[in-house]
């Protein structure tokens, strides 16, 4: 688990959904766990994370995302490979 990527993803989720600080965001968190994480928020969260790490996820990669950890993994892999 890459903690710094996780922190950035969690930050993006909090900024976009404006969820209460009491809502925990960890590797196992899914969109349904966070109030306000709807499809529109999802678009914005992905755009923020992509911009922050300079990566672009494919359609298939986005469809494969289930948890925060899935997003952290794909971003870590892509940013390491510079894609």
């Amino acid at each position: 688990m890459n903690q710094s990527v996780l922190d950035e993803v969690a930050k993006a989720v909090r900024e976009v959904t404006r969820c209460a600080p009491s809502v925990a965001i960890g590797p196992e968190t899914t969109a349904t766990d966070v109030p306000g994480w709807d499809s529109l928020a999802h678009v914005t969260i992905l755009a923020k994370v992509e911009k922050r790490f300079g990566v672009r996820l494919s359609l298939a990669e986005i469809r494969g995302l289930k948890t925060v950890d899935d997003l952290v993994r794909v971003v870590t892999l892509k940013s390491r490979n510079g894609i």
């Binding site: 499809s39 529109l40 999802h42 678009v43 359609l59 986005i62 469809r63």
Partner: protein, 566 residues
């Protein structure tokens, strides 16, 4: 802050991102904005059968955003029929929306060309292939929107061309989330849409004041002389200045009033316009201010002479210092950052200051000349003992014509653009004007003013509706170019004579739009005016000042000639 803008977005794709961005843009233009979104993909149903929430929102702008609808046209077995069918569904939607929300401005987006060319980039592609299908569809959309009136077309296709299809359309976002535009395109599209809405409410900018040295040509003419300035085909920089001049000339020929503001000796400054490669000449400028005063002073003088409000003015100068001085002293003047000369045209064009919600008219084409005539007229005032003597010397004549479907364009434009002499600030659409005029006894005229200096064009319009005991003036606008020439009083006399024929009173509205001070000054000069009342009734036999203007009108406009021809 002006009145709140409530924009309803009806789309065949996701509209929330455009809505959010548009509201931010409108807020930055000092407008309070809120957005409403039809449920995803339900643009047609919501147009035909607006939901309660849509009604409750009370939109004053309705934006139809259906960028993917064209897809069915080139693949259809009968593409031409598919194109017409699509347009017909848009017309049905507009008509229904107009019935449900008669006051709202309807904006239809056209169809962006994503550059799909299955048969390559030659002119050998099929007639109804992607390229031609889209070009035809967008052309037909303009025709239909013009014919059916009251629907503005927002040119998303040009934005797509400017950004490039690959930057405009984000296929991944589209297939995943049905968001058609990329983040970047959303921002550019919303900016353009905001400019359209702002210009609808506030009127487009009218006056463009430009510096000369290093703005219209390279170098300082006072130092290097006319032969030393960089302009024209001899150098790349000279070409860039010439291209900018061409762009300004195009604007001036299509209704934008051009003026020069320069820190130079006036004779030296003028020499620049005699350069063999100068595209602009002295006669292209309605005002020419050169000297050593602060530029904000010259801008104020120019606005006063042209009777234009500084908030309808754009000022262009290469000097950071001059731009800062004008911004500080005249914050209502638009002072853009245009970068280097090679970027002047594209940056000014992107800002879309002069785009409006009405079509170009004959008056637009000669506007700089009309303002130049006004300058000559002003110079004449001092030669007469009284202002009335001056007016008499003008030999003014007003030609009054009934408003019909054929001459509606100019009337509509006047209603859309006039701020200062505007009775109630209501921007009636062509459709709404025709609806009022179709009622029995209703009366609408436009007035064309001419005098010994020339023809000022069609400068005023009045729309009146007859009710039981009064003629209600629904709209009265007059171009600020012809203020204080007695035309408003001559028209009031005509209106009263119409009332006399019917034996009814005349009702004017007393509305403060924050910009119509000139109309309110006129109102307060009418005998018996009561500033406490929102509506003010005038008896048909009210005595009003007789101004030296000859009124020409056809029999159908006023049958009682005696009362209106002094």
């Amino acid at each position: 802050m002006s009145n709140p803008v409530r924009v309803a977005l009806l789309g065949s794709t996701t509209t929330e991102f455009i809505g959010r961005c548009l509201c931010d843009q409108l807020t930055s233009e000092m407008m309070t904005a809120s957005d409403y979104h039809a449920d995803y993909g339900r643009w047609f149903q919501e147009s035909l059968f607006p939901s309660q929430a849509f009604h409750d929102f009370q939109p004053n702008v309705i934006y139809l955003h259906c960028p993917n609808l064209w897809e069915r046209v080139p693949t259809h077995s009968n593409p031409e029929a598919a194109c017409e069918e699509l347009l017909e569904s848009l017309v049905v939607a507009w008509q229904s929306l107009r019935t449900h929300f008669p006051e709202a401005l309807i904006i239809q987006e056209n169809f962006p060309d994503l550059g799909l060319r299955p048969f390559g980039f030659s002119n050998r592609g099929p007639i109804w292939g992607h390229a031609r299908a889209l070009a035809r569809l967008n052309e037909r959309l303009l025709e239909v929107a013009d014919k059916k009136g009251n629907t503005l077309v927002h040119d998303a296709s040009s934005i797509c061309t400017r950004l490039g299809a690959s930057h405009y359309f984000d296929s991944r976002r589209y297939f995943l989330f049905k968001v058609f535009e990329s983040d970047f395109a959303t921002s550019v599209l919303s900016h353009s849409l905001a400019r359209l809405i702002v210009s609808h409410y506030r009127g487009p900018k009218k006056l463009l004041l430009v510096d000369l040295d290093n703005t219209l040509w390279g170098g300082e003419i006072g130092e290097i002389g006319v032969e030393g300035i960089e302009l024209g085909p001899d150098t790349p920089t000279g070409e860039a200045f010439a291209a900018f001049q061409s762009y300004l000339r195009y604007l001036s020929k299509h209704g934008v009033v051009l003026g020069a503001v320069s820190k130079n000796d006036p004779q030296t400054a003028l020499q620049g316009l005699t350069h063999p490669h100068s595209i602009l000449h002295r006669e292209d400028f309605a005002v020419f201010k050169a000297g050593w005063q602060p530029k904000a002073d010259y801008i104020k003088e120019a606005c006063t002479e042209l009777r234009l409000s500084p908030d309808s003015c754009v000022f262009i100068d290469d000097s950071t210092f001059e731009r800062a001085e004008v911004r500080a002293r005249l914050p209502m003047v638009a002072v853009p950052e245009l970068g280097e000369v090679e970027e002047f045209v594209s940056r000014l064009d992107e800002l879309n200051y002069f785009g409006g919600s009405s079509a170009t008219t004959a008056e637009d084409l000669g506007r700089t000349e009309l303002y130049r005539m006004e300058g000559l007229r002003q110079a004449e005032v001092g030669k007469h003992a009284t202002y009335m003597d001056f007016l008499k010397s003008l030999n003014a004549r007003v030609k009054i014509e009934e408003v019909t479907e054929q001459n509606l364009t100019r009337v509509h434009q006047l209603v859309q653009k006039t701020n200062q002499f505007n009775m109630n600030g209501k921007r009636l659409s062509e459709q709404q004007i025709l609806e009022i005029l179709s009622k029995p006894g209703s009366w609408g005229v436009q007035a064309e003013l001419s005098d010994k200096f020339g023809n000022a064009g069609k400068v005023s319009a009045v729309i009146m509706e007859l009710t039981d005991r009064v003629y209600k003036v629904r709209s009265w606008v007059m171009s600020c170019r012809v203020l204080q020439r007695g035309l408003e009083w001559a028209l009031l006399r005509v209106m009263l004579s119409i009332c006399r024929e019917r034996g009814v009173a005349l009702q004017l509205e007393n509305v403060d739009t924050s910009k119509n001070g000139r109309f309110r000054e006129f109102l307060s000069a009418i005998p018996g005016f009561d500033p406490e009342l929102d509506r003010f009734c005038l008896s048909y036999d009210t005595e009003i000042t007789d101004y030296p203007i000859i009124v020409d009108h056809p029999e159908s406009v006023v049958s009682n000639h005696e009362s209106v021809c002094p």
